[in-house]
Symmetry: C3
Subunit: 164 residues, 3 copies
C-alpha cells in the first residue's frame, strides 16, 4: 500500500466464488491499484475460495437467465433444461474459459498474481475459514487473516467501499 | 449531470441482467436523480444487456429459494422441481410481469427512459462489449463507452458507490 | 442510533432472502454497531422477508457452483444433478443449519435480535411490501417503513454504503 496519506482508497468485500463472478473484484482491484489507490480485498463466504492455492472455479449455468454466449454468429441464451443436464456446468465453464482465452482476457490466476504484485491488501475472513474448515497452508502467501471488524475499521477510512 | 459543484453524487456498477435484478439499479438511479444527485451507471457483465435497444429480460426461478409469489390469498414459494421443468422461466417471467403491471409499477423500459431524461450518465463497459460481441448500434443512444478506470475515477469523487 | 455527531455511519441495502445470504448483512450490521457506528438497514426485494416475524429461510443448492461442504474429511462440491432432485433444498438447508450450529455461529434470529438491541435502524421498503402483499403485522416490531428516497437521504450522509 502507498505511504502517501493523500492517496485515495478502496475496499471490496468478495463473497462470490464462481469463475464469472471472480472477475469483477479482481478487475476493479487491479485497475484501482494501477491508478494509485490503496486497495483492500476482504474474502468471505464463497469468495474465500479465491485465495486457495489450487482454485477450481466453475461457471454455473443455472440461475443465470441473462447469460448468453456468442454462438454461431449470434447470441444464444442457455436454456434451463440444457443447464440441468449432467455435465452442463463443466461444459459452460469450458465454453467461458475458451471465450475468455480467445478474447485475450487475463485468467483469474493472472489477475490474482497482478493484485499481489500491486500490493493489494488481501484479508481472509477468519469465521469463514473456521466454517468451511480451510487451513492457512491451503491459501496463497501474502495474505492476512481477520474478522468483520478489520474490514469495518478499514472501510470507515476508505473513499470507495463495495460488496461484491 | 448538474453543474452545481456542491450536488451530492452516486455511482452504480450494474452487473445483473434478469428482469427482477434490473429494478434495483434503475429505481435507485431515478430516485437519486429526482432528488438532485449526479448519478452515473456503469453497465458491465450481464448488466450490459440492459442498454440494448431490444431488451428481452427474464426472471429465473432457479436459484431464488426466497422467491415467493402472492397466490391464492397466501404466499407460495416456488419449488425447485417446478422451476426445473421446461417453460418455468417463461412462466415465472410472465407471472412477475403481470404482477408488476397489476401493481402499477413502471416497466424497466419506462425506468430506463426516465433515467435518460434525468441526465443519468450511462457508461457501457468496453471489455464486456468486446467479450459478448455487442455492437454500439445495438445499444440505446445517449450512452458512452468506457473501461473500469472511468468508473474508478468517478467513484473516487462520488458520495455513494454501489455494486449491484 | 447514537446522538454523537462525530460517530461514523453505515447503510446497507438488503436484497437477498436465503439462509446463506442473510448472514452478511446481519454480521456486518451488528459488528459495526458494536464498534459504535450508526447503522441503517434498508430491507427490499427478497430481503424484505428477513423482517417477517416468522422467517422460513432456505439455502438453494442451485446456482451456487462454488458451494462446498466439509464432508467425510474433505470438501465436496454439490453437483447440479443432486441439487435438482426433489428435497435437495431441504437437505442443503438442514446441512448448513447443522454445520452453523456445530460451529457455534449465531442463527439469523439471534443476529436480528442483536441488531434490534444495538439500535440498528431497520427500514422496510414500502414498494416491496405492496408488491409482495406483506402486512405490517407480519413484520417484527421496532422497524419503520420507507421508500428508496429515505435510503438515498441517509446514504448521502453515511461513511459506508453497501448493496447486498
Amino acid at each position: 500500500m502507498s505511504d502517501e496519506s493523500n492517496a485515495k482508497s478502496m475496499s471490496i468485500i468478495v463473497t462470490k466464488g464462481t469463475l464469472d463472478w471472480a472477475y469483477p473484484p479482481f478487475i476493479l482491484a487491479t485497475t484501482a491499484a494501477a491508478m494509485g489507490l490503496d486497495v483492500t480485498m476482504f474474502f468471505t463466504f464463497y469468495g474465500l475460495g479465491l485465495l486457495k492455492k489450487d482454485m477450481n472455479l466453475k461457471v454455473n449455468p443455472l440461475g443465470n437467465a441473462s447469460m448468453e454466449m456468442p454462438m454461431m454468429g449470434g447470441h444464444m441464451a442457455m436454456p434451463n433444461i440444457m443447464a440441468a443436464i449432467p455435465g452442463a456446468t463443466a461444459l459452460t465453464t469450458a465454453m467461458m474459459k475458451n471465450m475468455i482465452k480467445k478474447k485475450g482476457i487475463a485468467s483469474i490466476d493472472e489477475l490474482r498474481e497482478l493484485a499481489v504484485e500491486a500490493d493489494v491488501n488481501m484479508i481472509a475472513c477468519q469465521m469463514t475459514m473456521d466454517l468451511f474448515e480451510y487451513k492457512k497452508e491451503d491459501m496463497i502467501e501474502n495474505i492476512s487473516v481477520g474478522g468483520a471488524a478489520s474490514w469495518v475499521d478499514i472501510a470507515t477510512r476508505s473513499d470507495i467501499n463495495l460488496y461484491i
